[in-house]
């Protein structure tokens, strides 16, 4: 499994990537939506994209819209990972084609549970 982690904060990219590595993902990083589209255009295949909303050059919502407009990219699971936390924003992102929405701040467990729900990691047995 490979994930594309899109966030203008290197700190946040490191946190998200670190959690994904622990769940068995390889990661590729991009600092905004356009850089992420360039990664996909270069032929890198990813299963999952974790997408910040507010970024310079191209924001996350625009990225989601662009990916959804491209049939070749239809297999990518899109999860917003953002501090935008108004209900209306979540509805907007889902309507644009995001599959999941994780609000910052989040814990590593929260990422794992979202990915379990999306079927990208096997469910862990809790004690």
């Amino acid at each position: 499994m490979r994930a594309l982690v899109i966030d203008d904060s290197r700190t946040m990219r490191r946190i998200v990537s670190g959690t994904l590595h622990n769940l068995g993902f390889e990661t590729v990083e991009a600092e905004h939506g356009q850089a992420a589209l360039d990664v996909l255009d270069s032929g890198v295949h990813v299963d999952l994209a974790c997408i910040d909303w507010n970024m310079p050059v191209m924001d996350g919502l625009t990225f989601v819209t662009q990916v959804r407009a491209d049939p070749a990219l239809r297999d990518i699971t899109l999860m917003m990972v953002t501090t935008e936390s108004e209900q209306s924003q979540i509805v907007r992102a889902l309507a644009a084609g995001a599959h999941e929405y994780l609000i910052k701040p989040f814990t590593a467990d929260a990422i794992r549970e979202k990915l379990e729900w999306l079927g990208l990691v096997p469910a862990e047995e809790y004690v």
């Binding site: 203008d8 904060s9 290197r10 700190t11 946040m12 490191r14 946190i15 670190g18 507010n54 310079p56 953002t82 501090t83 935008e84 936390s85 108004e86 209306s88 924003q89 609000i103 910052k104 701040p105 989040f106 814990t107």
Partner: protein
């Protein structure tokens, strides 16, 4: 105006940011007891709230505490040196997450500016302080402030 950005909500936001992203445990960010000492070497991180409701969410702490916060976020060892770029990015990201959640307390949908970090906080015309929380993180003072600009 300050009713919608109440101190309980701002505290809940700050606490969730610290417990989830910095400490991995709840209960390490507490109200500051007693008088707050003057900051000797302050560092500010802030984001501006834009739209119908304008404002700012800012964190202030001593520079060494900001370094400690950056190390915690970046999962670095206690004695590792934080680069300026990492410090600005990590400390700014805390303000960004706090600010995004504060923005959601406002009655109309606005947008968030990009986070800034500096040793001085530039003044903002006509701002009124909405909330100022004096907090203690591992014994060190941290101030979380929210301004609303009419």
């Amino acid at each position: 105006m300050s009713a919608m950005v109440d101190s309980d909500s701002v505290y809940a936001i700050a606490e969730s940011v610290f417990s989830a992203m910095i400490d991995g445990d709840e209960g390490l960010l507490l109200p500051w007891e007693g008088d707050l000492p003057q900051f000797a070497d302050p560092l500010y991180a802030w984001v501006d709230l834009l739209g119908e409701w304008q404002g700012r969410a800012a964190l202030t702490t001593e520079a060494p505490t900001a370094h400690a916060l950056a190390r915690a976020l970046l999962m670095m060892g206690d004695d590792e040196v934080v680069s300026d770029a990492d410090l600005i990015d990590a400390f700014g990201e805390i303000a960004n997450v706090v600010g995004g959640n504060v923005k959601a307390l406002l009655p109309t949908q606005g947008t968030l500016g990009l986070p800034r970090v500096d040793a001085v906080l530039p003044p903002h015309e006509g701002g009124s302080l909405s909330q100022e929380l004096r907090l203690s993180w591992r014994g060190q003072p941290i101030v979380v402030a929210v301004w609303l600009f009419g």
